[in-house]
């Protein structure tokens, strides 16, 4: 029998790990090592997920809308900040500490204030997501812009390139790798941010659903929604992987070469 290739091992090893963990979890609950009312088994969670599927789908739609909207605006804000900070050194010095400090404020602390200021609709959720997602994008873009070899900029100047041409043809493509790394982090923040914002007030969304089932001590449904949040985050990250794959064809060639 031949050993599986490295490529298939990348799938087989984590898949087996997850299956083993789920089996152990199932056994721990079924054997009564942990009280069932505290920890539902994976199969109970799956049953709850199927039973509540229509309701969960509606709530997931709301959360996903907030997350995608907030993430899109967060990326736009992050991009503008990064471009300005790269272009104007004074602005970089002025904004860098403020942006960093803004990330030390806990999301759960600022969310009630946003609800107070903007009400229970879409706006406070989107604002919270923008606040949490723009930072990784800004930081990754600024670092990408600054990673450009100064000799490349010098070369562009000998070709009479304008500042805009240097930006679009050198800096922006050079920053794409780190931008997608930042975007991947922002995507996970977007879903979590939406759920946290919904906890504190709203009419629909996975956070609202979570608050309701927690109050009724339906921990199987609580775990079902946790599964769903993980799946949504993974789907969003996969979408970003596909976008990166499509936007950076030269990286595929580099990977093949290495």
């Amino acid at each position: 029998m031949t050993a599986p290739s490295t490529k298939s091992r990348k799938w087989i090893v984590p898949t087996i790990t997850v299956i083993v963990l789920l089996v152990v979890w199932e056994l721990v609950v079924r054997l009564g090592l942990v009280p069932n009312f505290l920890l539902p088994s994976p199969t109970q969670t799956l049953v709850a997920l199927v039973q509540d599927a229509p309701e969960l789908a509606a709530h997931a739609g709301t959360t996903l809308l907030e997350a995608v909207l907030g993430l899109t605006l967060g990326v736009a804000v992050g991009f503008v900040f990064a471009v300005l900070m790269d272009r104007f050194e004074t602005l970089y010095l002025a904004l860098n500490p403020i942006i960093t400090v803004s990330q030390t404020i806990p999301t759960v602390a600022i969310a009630p204030l946003l609800v107070l200021w903007f009400g229970y609709d879409l706006v406070p959720k989107v604002v919270l997501i923008v606040l949490t997602t723009f930072f990784p994008v800004t930081v990754s873009l600024v670092s990408g812009f600054r990673s450009v070899d100064p000799d490349t900029i010098a070369l562009m100047r000998t070709m009479k390139a304008s500042e805009l041409q240097i930006f679009t043809r050198v800096k922006l493509p050079a920053a794409m790798g780190s931008f997608f790394s930042g975007l991947r982090i922002s995507a996970t923040y977007a879903i979590v941010g939406a759920v946290i914002a919904e906890w504190l007030g709203g009419f629909s969304g996975l956070g609202v659903y979570m608050t309701r089932v927690r109050k009724s001590f339906s921990y199987d449904r609580m775990f079902a929604v946790i599964y769903l949040i993980s799946v949504l985050s993974l789907v969003l990250m996969k979408c970003i992987d596909l976008l990166e794959y499509a936007c950076m064809p030269w990286k595929r060639a580099e990977r093949k070469q290495s």
Partner: protein, 233 residues
């Protein structure tokens, strides 16, 4: 006679005038001719090329291209820096035609013009490859083509063969000398290899001292190699 490139009395500094790195640098090169600058590491050879290219303004002195004063103004000479500096996100043909694209030539026309020259630069079949798919020698050829497509009659090369293995280096050097002569390019080449300098150039400017200055302008002929080595010792 108007020289293709002429520098007179250049005084150069690293930090805006505080530390003088080279002084009284005067040199010239004619169309179809190659001259070399040789000197020890750190003597300011690259700073001199930066000044000739207009990337750095000298403390004093002038740089003229075809008689026109272009001191401190980039874009009048084609400059190939030490590394090939191919943009990793552009295919070879797009890297080569970058100067044309920057000057506003439409994409298809620029690509066609680069494609026409690919064979002459030994790059046939590599048009649609990415830089990471090419060997060091081929990347350097692509950088030469990009430099040529900058469209200037004067070319500055900063140690263009230093990153290559001995065989590729000799091949590429011979190829460049032949091609530059055919195209009538005036080339200023930095090298720290004296053998390379006497192979390529008709005249060699030997730099020495601190701050650097031109110790002697050696016309290449019998015994030039040993004489340059003595000057550098």
């Amino acid at each position: 006679m108007t020289r293709a490139l002429e520098a007179e009395g250049l005084v150069l500094s690293w930090d805006g005038g505080e530390t003088i790195v080279a002084r009284d640098i005067s040199l010239c090169v004619d169309a179809g001719e190659t001259v070399c600058l040789v000197g020890r590491s750190g003597c300011g050879k690259t700073t001199i090329l930066h000044a000739l290219s207009g990337l750095e303004r000298p403390v004093s002195g002038t740089v003229r291209v075809a008689g026109e004063d272009v001191t401190g103004v980039p874009g009048h000479v084609s400059y190939m820096l030490q590394k090939d500096l191919l943009l990793p996100h552009l295919r070879i043909v797009d890297n080569a035609c970058l100067p044309l694209r920057l000057s506003g030539v439409p994409k298809q026309e620029a690509r066609d013009r680069a494609r026409e020259l690919m064979g002459r630069f030994g790059l046939e079949g590599t048009e649609e490859l990415w830089p990471s798919q090419l060997s060091g020698g081929m990347r350097q050829r692509a950088a030469f083509l990009r430099t040529y497509l900058m469209g200037n009659d004067v070319v500055l090369l900063d140690e263009p063969f230093s990153a290559l293995d001995a065989l590729t280096r000799t091949d590429l050097r011979d190829w460049y000398v032949q091609m530059a002569a055919q195209l009538g390019l005036a080339s200023v080449v930095i090298t720290h290899d004296v053998d390379e300098a006497v192979e390529m150039a008709s005249r060699v400017y030997v730099l020495g001292g601190k701050p650097s200055e031109v110790v002697e302008e050696v016309v290449v002929g019998d015994g030039a190699r040993d004489h340059i080595l003595e000057l550098l010792a």
